[in-house]
């Protein structure tokens, strides 16, 4: 209704850049999600400490076809220590 007030600033919801995440019906990435959630709890909800777990979760999504594969730098992950961890995670899975 507020958007109908003439000449007022309207809130325009912008589309997400990559569109919508497909739903993870089978819970394929549940483990990575739980790891990320526990990391957040340990670090008092500070996301900068949990970037690796976030990266793991997104890597799991990409591996299971739940997300388009993109370079990490395009998603804002610039650390170069990541690839080693990713391989370790994949091998343990």
């Amino acid at each position: 209704m507020t958007s109908q007030i003439y000449n007022q600033k309207k809130f325009v919801p912008t589309p997400p850049e990559k569109g919508s995440f497909p739903l993870d019906h089978e819970g394929l990435c549940k483990k990575q999600f739980l790891l990320y959630a526990s990391c957040l709890r340990r670090n008092a909800q500070d996301t900068s400490q949990c970037r690796e777990d976030a990266q793991n979760y997104l890597a799991c999504r990409m591996d299971n076809n739940l997300m388009e594969r993109t370079e990490w730098s395009k998603l804002g992950f610039h650390s170069d220590s990541k690839p080693a961890k990713e391989e370790k995670q994949d091998s343990s899975n």
Binding site: P13, P15, S20, L40, Q45, S73, K74, G76
Partner: protein, 236 residues
């Protein structure tokens, strides 16, 4: 008696004719050859002044009508006042720098429409994020009914001015999502706050941003205010 009255009348008429100026009102506009030079100059000045004033008035009215589209074009071109052009590009994500000295708290809120039967809640109440850094957050939705339910969501950012700096890379909104009976899913939101938020004076004292998602049930004939890029889920 009549003679005196007539004489009086004649005298009055003579007096009137001599005192009232001969010119009728509309003769101010007509410059006659019988006018003296001062009269002509005065009339000319009067006319020009009036023309100038009328033209000025018309110009002001025209400018105020033209100002509306001109202003919006200016704002779009120079990103003034938060009216950035649609979306953002991935180049920005690659090159943006984290702003370390300003940590923002992002609170999450989850709502459902009145007839929506899902249980929908955020997985974390709030997270601390630095502008310029991408962050991941989760919501959980559960379908407790025995039938598959299709939902579609929209979002809102409070405070209003912060919405221009809140950029989502990927989320679960604006597309229909189906949940099978008794199914529970985690829905991630991957976003970042534009580092230009530090330059916005209106948000100088803002350190909490609330992201609120609302899920509605997608039904035939349900008309919601969706932007035109929202598309229905392809039949899976």
């Amino acid at each position: 008696m009549l003679r005196t009255l007539n004489a009086l009348r004649g005298q009055c008429q003579q007096l009137l004719r001599s005192s009232i100026p001969r010119q009728k009102p509309n003769q101010i506009w007509r410059m006659k050859s019988t006018d003296s030079p001062e009269e002509a100059a005065r009339k000319l000045r009067l006319k020009s002044t009036l023309y100038y004033i009328t033209a000025g008035g018309v110009l002001i009215v025209g400018l105020s009508y033209a100002a509306v589209p001109l202003y919006s074009i200016f704002c779009q071109a120079y990103s003034y006042g938060g009216t950035t052009s649609q979306g953002h590009d991935s180049e920005k994500v690659e090159h943006m720098h984290k702003v370390k000295d300003r940590i923002l708290k992002i609170r999450f809120n989850a709502d459902i429409g009145s007839s929506m039967r899902w249980n929908f809640k955020p997985q974390q109440y709030e997270i601390k994020v630095a502008p310029g850094e991408t962050a991941l957050a989760f919501y959980t939705a559960r379908n407790p009914t025995d039938k598959p339910v299709i939902g579609i969501s929209t979002y809102n950012v409070i405070p209003f001015e912060a919405g221009a700096y809140f950029n989502k890379i990927q989320c679960f909104c604006f597309e229909e999502q189906q949940l099978n009976p008794h199914e529970e899913v985690d829905m991630p939101v991957f976003f970042y706050i534009d580092p230009e938020i530090t330059g916005d004076p209106a948000l100088e004292h803002c350190d909490t941003i609330t992201l609120s998602y609302t899920f509605f049930e997608a039904r035939e004939g349900l008309k919601l205010n969706f932007p035109n890029y929202a598309k229905p889920h392809a039949a899976a």
